[in-house]
Subunit: 287 residues, 2 copies
Amino acid sequence: MSFETTATIASFGGKLLKLKHQSSSTGTDMALNLYLPPQALKSGGKVPVLFYLSGLTCTGDNCSEKGFFQHGASQKGLAVVYPDTSPRGLKIEGEDDAYDFGSGAGFYVDATKEPWNKGYNMYSYITKELPEALFAHFKELDGSRVSITGHSMGGHGALTLFLKNPGMYKSVSAFAPIANPINAPWGQKAFKGYFGEDQQQRWKEHDATELVKQWKGPLEVLIDVGTGDNFYKQKQLLPENFIDAAKQAGNDKGINLRLQPDYDHSYYFMATFADDHVAWAAKHLGV
Amino acid sequence: MSFETTATIASFGGKLLKLKHQSSSTGTDMALNLYLPPQALKSGGKVPVLFYLSGLTCTGDNCSEKGFFQHGASQKGLAVVYPDTSPRGLKIEGEDDAYDFGSGAGFYVDATKEPWNKGYNMYSYITKELPEALFAHFKELDGSRVSITGHSMGGHGALTLFLKNPGMYKSVSAFAPIANPINAPWGQKAFKGYFGEDQQQRWKEHDATELVKQWKGPLEVLIDVGTGDNFYKQKQLLPENFIDAAKQAGNDKGINLRLQPDYDHSYYFMATFADDHVAWAAKHLGV
């Protein structure tokens, strides 16, 4: 599947490509941004790749503009992929009615309930179709060295995709992740809509706190959460549940949950700690 | 004049304050952002101040979110002031009709032509009223150590305010400044509107290229312009005219015009070189 480059923007010595391609997972065109660091622009350059999954309401543009990942990625020599958060324009009734379900809120699952199963397949898109297409098209990307991170709904995505696919990602980190969606209003609404209320087993298969109980072997995770984050206070994120579950499974030693004093849920928070998450990925990617 | 703090946001170890105050220069409420670095939050901390002037259409929010001055300012211990670009809500007819005149386009002049002379006094606001109010209210700001920078229309503002007020600012730098507005469509439209077509002397008093001819003594300026900047290509910026005028006046030795390959006019460009401009200011501010 080929990509159309709709813009090329110089950024921190590298290039940010605005891309568009037809997705068979979603049945729509999908937009995304790809940051190629200076190291990828040299002849024969081959760089590892960090997937960044965005939160509710966002496209790949928000973090490209406000997240400050290019700063660290340029220094470490990482490509960064910023996908969209859902299909757009499927014309499903109600698709654009809420900020936390439908457009901009794909939750990185493959929906099984009608009508959302028509194209809300962000799990397949992010874990299979998109990386395969990118690595086939962009020879400067090293598809054998891939890490993942994300924010809020995208932090949920990063944790679950990592835990469901051992070996696929060299590392995982998250900013203010929805770490236990089956026990949080956002997650419950989304999973009810995409899977149905009676599909409790399927809900658990996309819940980081449930998944970490099953994890075998060592586990290293970096998580930042701001103590001034209203969604944290409202118990939408529940990172402590994730830690507790890992502890019960004897897998918490490598989990670094940092509660950052006063930080909120915004890109100001993300930008502040973006360098740390890029460094975390870079360390595990061997750069 | 007192400030109302409408939000306090943690950013790079410091605090970004969203402020509002009544301005006698403009006759309106004015919003701005003030970044206090971690060094200012310590008891008795006193930090130098960098004024950042925004470009057409912007408020102080755009650069606070996308310019990443906080990154360098946090490391160097500089406060950053992000003012608005014009009065808002004066209800002058036509005020909101164009992106390059009226709201969001105050051009850092005091208008003399009716009806704009009613409140379009951004020159007085930025050079007098705002710093006096800030330094009276925020004791952590060192009003004796102030530098200035800006982008596009704000680059014009930074250069002209610096050149018109010897000693007021310890240093100046600019991103893609409108460096010779009397010879560029944007500047001609603005000066015609704010001063009148027949006020050529007044036009020259707000033109960096004209002002640099009169500058006495040494002059150090850092200017970044992207070679992929469409406004540069369209001759809205004309930085070479500024260099030529300085050269004729024997004052060009300390001007560092960097033409940055492929960079455009956006905040991606600004973010890439923000650290350099903060370091430039910090060096001249003695930190």
